[in-house]
């Protein structure tokens, strides 16, 4: 039932019927004010209570002083998608308090510092004013930390109002401060104070509360960039070359954080890896191409503008057939766009990255597990296919907090692909670098340093024959491109297959990928309630395979749902299945925020119910 109805109800009964584990908290603060600690404390405490949660940070592209919002979705049903309305507003930013207030639905809750001045205070919202200054006055911290701990006041208030287990808040704080007693104590003291004050001074008028569940047992909370970084480490990365850019930076940060403990040589303590901060993305791309050529498992992570700068090197990697892994944590483009907002706008660009006839292998993780798993597999695919492999994640997956089952240890041994040793060469009596020996489009390569006198070959981005010698001959050029096309078809068969959930009798199919997944899952439930049964195919890689054709063939209409303006995947799917061009519909939206389930279901019902 809607909050509206509740309102009226509670007016009658005077005693609101409670809404348990199913609401959204929107914390509005100023960035750089340390609210992250407070917000992660709340979300982790709820998580530790066994309640499904998801946290999304909507932050500005500057370092401090601008508005930022952290939304916590609490969902007993386990939905993790963004929802556009929130029931509980923590209005701790005077710049935006009125706009934030105006955005609330009637009957919603608003926590705020008691001295917060609203221009027009709505009458249909429940207010809880908090004496922030008073509660933090005696705290034993240096002045500049005062603001930080002030955020603990709303944590304490929520603990009381929502009935969050205090012990879990302690646990959350100790997780955050890695067990350091002092900060834990200082912060918890405020939480307790605030909770007590609320208990003694406020009457709860709203219906929202939480109750312990066991829906998060053995799960962890993590962001996709950390997951991807760990995947890269367990995938055996040996060289990282990068240039800082939001929102990809934290992926390399994670790698830097975990490498020392996981990848130092036990005897010598030396590094089995190199992380190089390049002077720009051209250099980062060039460095991993050089490293991949010489045999390293090399990677970089970047975002839109960096991808544009890597265009020429991506073409070289494709044509000279050099393995490398390139993560694109997608943000809003075109151009510099909005660095701290999410999109899936680089799909077309990356698939065709490079001038001339270029087509790349692209992985599309849709969960924390896949960020980890594809972090591992990207290297195997790159070395097997001897080509740059792109991993397209985005800001929502990469920088927000997601629940996930623990990651599985990679069972498949590392695949270094077709590399000839000196012994091989002795057996074979030589080799032709670009000869399609196995008819899969993939030649055999040697690594520099191979001591065999016949090991050397010359790599170039210009025309070459099977022996890798320079050639301008038309037949050589054509044969080479035809082999590369064969290789692309080989890739088609070995990249991760789509995940398909076909509902018998469903006439409507949904095709999506990446961070849109949770919204689609929720939207399908909404649609089902409205009598629209749907099948679902979540794409996990490019190039597209036969399954895509089959799936579309089984449905009257397929909606390609994505977070960009041009319906980029819709275009690629249409090109892949011209025979079904008219069955495909594009649901593309891009305003910087993750898609909501409601948006998707409304779009589809709008089209299906006429």
């Amino acid at each position: 039932m809607s909050v509206m109805e509740l309102e009226t109800q509670s007016q009658l009964s005077g005693e609101p019927q409670s809404i348990v584990n199913d609401f959204v908290i929107n914390v509005a603060t100023v960035n750089g004010s340390g609210s992250q600690t407070a917000n992660t404390t709340i979300i982790r405490a709820l998580f530790k209570m066994g309640i499904p949660v998801n946290g999304k940070n909507i932050f500005p592209s500057n370092i401090s002083g601008l508005p930022t919002w952290f939304t916590i979705r609490v969902s007993k049903d386990g939905y993790t998608a963004r929802r556009d309305k929130s029931e509980i507003l923590v209005a701790f930013n005077s710049q935006t308090c009125d706009a934030d207030l105006a955005a609330l639905e009637p009957g919603a809750v608003c926590l705020h510092p008691e001295d917060m001045r609203f221009v027009n205070k709505r009458s249909d919202v429940i207010y809880y004013g908090l004496p922030v200054k008073a509660l933090t006055k005696e705290a034993q911290v240096e002045p500049k930390l005062k603001d930080y701990i002030a955020n603990m006041v709303y944590v304490g208030a929520l603990v009381k109002l929502l009935d969050i287990e205090p012990q879990k808040v302690k646990d959350a704080l100790s997780f955050h401060f890695r067990g350091k007693a002092k900060p834990i104590a200082i912060n918890y003291e405020i939480v307790e104070k605030a909770a007590n004050w609320v208990g003694e001074n406020l009457k709860k008028l709203d219906p929202y509360k939480v109750e312990a569940m066991n829906a998060t047992t053995d799960k962890i909370l993590i962001d996709g960039n950390t997951a991807g970084g760990l995947g890269s480490i367990f995938g055996g990365v040996t060289l990282v070359a990068w240039y800082p850019i939001t929102p990809s930076t934290s992926l390399v940060d994670a790698i830097n954080d975990y490498l020392p403990s996981l990848r130092r040589d036990p005897e010598t303590g030396k590094a089995t890896y190199a992380v190089i901060q390049a002077e720009d993305e051209l250099a980062a791309a060039g460095t991993i191409i050089g490293a991949g050529w010489a045999g390293a498992r090399a990677m970089t992570a970047t975002s839109g503008p960096g991808i544009s700068l890597m265009t020429e090197f991506s073409g070289l990697g494709y044509f000279a057939e050099v393995p490398a892994v390139i993560w694109d944590i997608m943000r809003m483009g075109p151009s510099t766009g909005l660095p701290t907002r999410v999109s899936q706008g680089d799909v077309l660009k990356v698939y065709y990255l490079g001038h001339g006839d270029t087509k790349h292998v692209v992985l599309l993780p849709g969960s924390m597990k896949e960020c980890f798993q594809f972090g591992v597999e990207a290297f195997d695919l790159a070395e097997r296919l001897q080509t740059p492999v792109f991993v397209l994640s985005d800001l929502d997956l990469g920088m927000n907090l997601w629940m996930t089952e623990q990651f599985d240890y990679p069972e498949k041994p590392i695949d270094r692909g077709k590399v000839l040793s000196a012994e091989d060469l002795t057996k074979l009596g030589g080799f032709a670098r670009y000869k399609d020996v196995d008819n899969d489009g993939i030649g055999y390569r040697t690594l520099p340093g191979n001591p065999h006198p016949l090991a050397a070959y010359f790599t170039r981005g210009t025309g070459h024959d099977e022996q890798a010698s320079y050639s301008e001959r038309p037949d050589h050029w054509l044969a080479n491109l035809e082999r590369l096309a064969r290789k692309h078809n080989t890739a088609r068969t070995i990249v991760p297959k789509p995940v398909i959930d076909s509902k018998p009798g469903a006439k409507v199919g949904i095709i999506a990928y990446g961070s849109v997944d949770p919204s689609v899952i929720e939207a399908r439930d909404m649609l089902r309630e409205q009598g629209v049964e749907t099948s679902y195919m979540r794409l996990r890689a490019l190039p597209l395979g036969e399954e895509v054709r089959e799936f579309i063939g089984q449905h009257d209409v397929c909606y390609v749902v994505e977070l960009n303006f041009d319906g980029q995947m819709h275009q690629l799917v249409q090109l892949h299945t011209p025979e079904y061009a008219m069955r495909l519909r594009s649901i593309a939206h891009c305003d910087g925020l993750p898609l909501t389930a409601r948006f998707i279901s409304e779009k589809i019902t709008a089209k299906e119910q006429k």
Partner: protein
């Protein structure tokens, strides 16, 4: 890596310490214009590699794009080579050398490839200091695109096709010195002996050694007035020193150090002996003196060649990054994939 050829007669072939004939260090036939300075540099590379008995399998030949950048195809067929992108050889080489720290790179670039499109990468490569010989085949023009001025062309120079160059020349040696490069030399493709001795020293230097070699483009920039031409170079070259490279094993020679000669000992033994030829008191181990002599010779429009600056005190990037001794490229799975327990521990810590 540096040992010198002792004549062993096998048939009438002269073999080096690896028992290899000079021909084994050759490359493919050149497709450059006959007389191009670049080809004479290639033949010096071949000579030196053979004389020093270099192991071709541990050398990589790197280049960008240009006539000069084609050169690696014309020497050391037994070495892996990578003809990369225009101006981007430094980044690719950085990756390759980090992937396998046993490798040494012989890199060839042009004045356009390094001074125009590649200036940024050139400077940042030198900051990182990788084990390589960075040869700039400097002809003041873009040869492969038919003779436009590059950034090293002299201000005021006139060419039939390119017109007049109105911009001050970039001095790639000065750039290298202020970027803390530890081995900076200038030479002239027409001065085979000097090129050879400098190449030997550079090959033995631990770190990036820059050789800015004036290498005439006989097709587009070889008029007498051009400072990048054969006639000009032959007429005006002023050698700072008489350079001789003394490989490790000849201890004797190193002892008998003569009056005016300066011996610079390199990390693994060999010595570069510099016998002064000019009046000025240039000390090649002093950065500031190197800047001075370059600044002055530029003002006086002099064409000085020789070892401008040498200082082996910087660590190479592999050491800075504390890399394991084995090449990263060939580390076995046990070394690069953490254990099942490690992942388990990690996951638990995130519960």
């Amino acid at each position: 890596m540096t040992t010198e050829a002792r004549p062993t007669s096998e048939g009438n072939k002269k073999l080096n310490l690896l028992g290899l004939d000079r021909a084994e260090y050759k490359g493919r036939p050149s497709t450059l214009c006959s007389g191009c300075g670049h080809d004479s540099i290639s033949s010096q590379v071949i000579a030196v590699a053979w004389e020093l008995s270099l192991d071709a399998n541990r050398i990589i030949k790197m280049s960008g794009i240009g006539c000069s950048s084609k050169s690696p195809a014309y020497f050391l067929n037994r070495s892996h080579g990578f003809n990369t992108l225009h101006g981007r050889m430094p980044a690719v080489t950085t990756g390759a050398l980090m992937a396998n720290r046993d490798l040494k790179a012989i890199a060839v670039s042009g004045d356009g490839d390094t001074g125009s499109i590649g200036l940024g990468q050139y400077k940042h490569l030198l900051r990182r200091n990788l084990p390589m010989v960075y040869i700039i085949e400097n002809n003041g023009v873009y040869g492969l695109t038919k003779g436009q001025f590059s950034a090293t062309a002299d201000e005021g120079q006139v060419l039939k096709y390119a017109g007049t160059n109105e911009f001050p020349a970039i001095d790639l040696c000065m750039e290298a010195i202020i970027s803390n490069c530890g081995f900076v030399a200038r030479s002239f493709a027409g001065d085979a002996k000097q090129v050879r001795e400098l190449l030997k020293a550079a090959m033995s230097f631990e770190g990036t050694a820059v050789l800015d070699i004036i290498s005439p483009c006989v097709t587009f920039n070889n008029h007498d007035e051009s400072t990048k031409s054969y006639p000009y170079g032959k007429a005006h070259e002023e050698r700072l020193q008489d350079i001789s490279f003394i490989p490790t094993f000849n201890e004797v020679q190193v002892e008998m150090n003569e009056g005016d000669a300066l011996d610079v000992k390199l990390h693994d033994g060999p010595v570069v002996r510099l016998r002064k030829l000019t009046a000025d008191d240039h000390d090649p181990t002093n950065k500031y003196s190197a800047l001075k002599i370059l600044e002055e010779s530029n003002e006086k429009h002099e064409f000085i060649t020789g070892l401008l600056y040498i200082n082996e005190n910087r660590r190479t990037l592999a050491d800075v990054e504390h890399l394991v001794d084995e090449p990263l490229a060939t580390l076995p799975q046990e070394k690069v994939r953490p254990s099942r327990e490690a992942l388990d521990k990690l996951m638990k810590s995130m519960l």
